[in-house]
């Protein structure tokens, strides 16, 4: 399949979305539109249509649980909270993110070092993936 920039970008975003969503939910209860707003303020733009299936998947995998709460202004709302399994999952994702972060920074800085040996890059990537 042809490599298109839009697809690659979408893949990158998709990969980090779970991490961001779980981080935002954190230790509190969150309502989907709150999550969206916080994502927006963090400059990660998603539409609500992306969020609902993701939240459902996380709930089905027991990483999230929800509660119905009555709302004065309309239909009752689902408020999502992380389970303890979810907390562990988040920890795991955070670790990998930190590793990738380091690796990507290292790989990018290697670019500017014209005389850097290729071996360094391969070592860095091997350890962190």
């Amino acid at each position: 399949m042809e490599v298109k920039i839009e697809n690659s970008k979408a893949q990158m975003r998709k990969g980090v979305l779970e991490l961001c969503v779980l981080s935002i939910i954190g230790n509190e209860e969150a309502y989907p539109s709150d999550i969206i707003n916080k994502l927006k303020s963090s400059k990660l733009i998603v539409v609500e249509g992306t969020l609902y299936p993701l939240l459902n998947r996380l709930k089905d995998s027991a990483l999230l649980e929800y509660q119905w709460k009555e709302s004065k202004v309309g239909p009752p709302r689902k408020y999502y909270k992380m389970t303890s399994m979810g907390q562990d999952f988040l920890e795991g994702l955070r670790e990998t993110w930190n590793e990738l972060n380091t690796a990507v920074s290292a790989a990018q800085s290697l670019e500017s070092v014209a005389t850097g040996t290729n071996l360094d890059v391969i070592d860095v990537i091997k350890v962190n993936v």
Partner: protein, 221 residues
């Protein structure tokens, strides 16, 4: 002036304009297709509908009917199908006209009946001519005669049609035979025709009767 539909999103009732209704139907249908492979498809759709209900309430701001304006606003928040990986829908305009073409009811369809008011034998020919829109059934009768003398299949065809095609009994039947819609006015017309037809027949009988009387009485002299 527009037609309004009553819908419910996730159990919450709304009144909605016709073109907005067609659009949102297609939107939800497209989304449902996209999520149909997931086990939680129904749940996801319900979450989406409930959220849309909430958004519509906000965006209506006290107005009563959802129009394309609110649809555009709410879909901007929810995302177009292609924004979360589904197939894109058609454009508003072309979509609407496509739907409109599908929605036009065919109420001038005719049904084939045998016409009891204008029959020589069984009303087969007059029924056929009503269906085809031929004003004078004589052409159809001549056609059948030609068939009988020409190919010999005429009688059998005639009998088959006599057997299979129902007689137009009710006013509604007679209307659909001629291809007119069964509205209250039209039915009243048919009944009037029948009454005046009956009136003519009665006149005819009384004339005949008095003629016979006269001729009888003449005969005595």
């Amino acid at each position: 002036m527009n037609k309004t539909f009553n819908i419910n999103l996730g159990g919450y009732p709304f009144s909605i304009d016709e073109d907005a209704y067609n659009y949102i139907q297609e939107y939800l249908h497209t989304i449902r297709n996209h999520f149909s492979t997931s086990e939680s498809c129904d749940e996801i759709l319900l979450d989406i509908e409930v959220r849309m209900a909430e958004l519509f309430q906000e965006h209506l701001k006290g107005r009563m009917i959802i129009s394309m304006k609110e649809i555009d606003e709410v879909i901007a928040v929810m995302g177009k199908p292609e924004d979360f990986g589904a197939e894109a829908m058609g454009e508003h305009k072309s979509y609407y006209s496509k739907r409109q073409r599908k929605a036009i009811p065919i109420n001038t369809g005719k049904r084939l009946f045998r016409d009891p008011d204008d029959k020589k034998l069984a009303g087969v020919c007059s029924g056929i001519s009503a269906y085809l829109g031929i004003h004078d059934p004589v052409w159809v009768r001549l056609f059948f005669l030609a068939l009988i003398f020409g190919a010999g299949v005429g009688p059998i065809m005639y009998l088959a049609i006599w057997f299979m095609v129902p007689e137009a009994v009710t006013a509604s039947d007679k209307l659909s035979m001629r291809g007119e819609p069964s509205t209250v006015e039209n039915i009243a017309k048919v009944v009037e025709e029948e009454i005046s037809g009956l009136g003519d027949k009665i006149n005819k009988w009384t004339k005949d009767f008095s003629k016979k009387k006269k001729s009888k009485s003449k005969g005595y002299y």
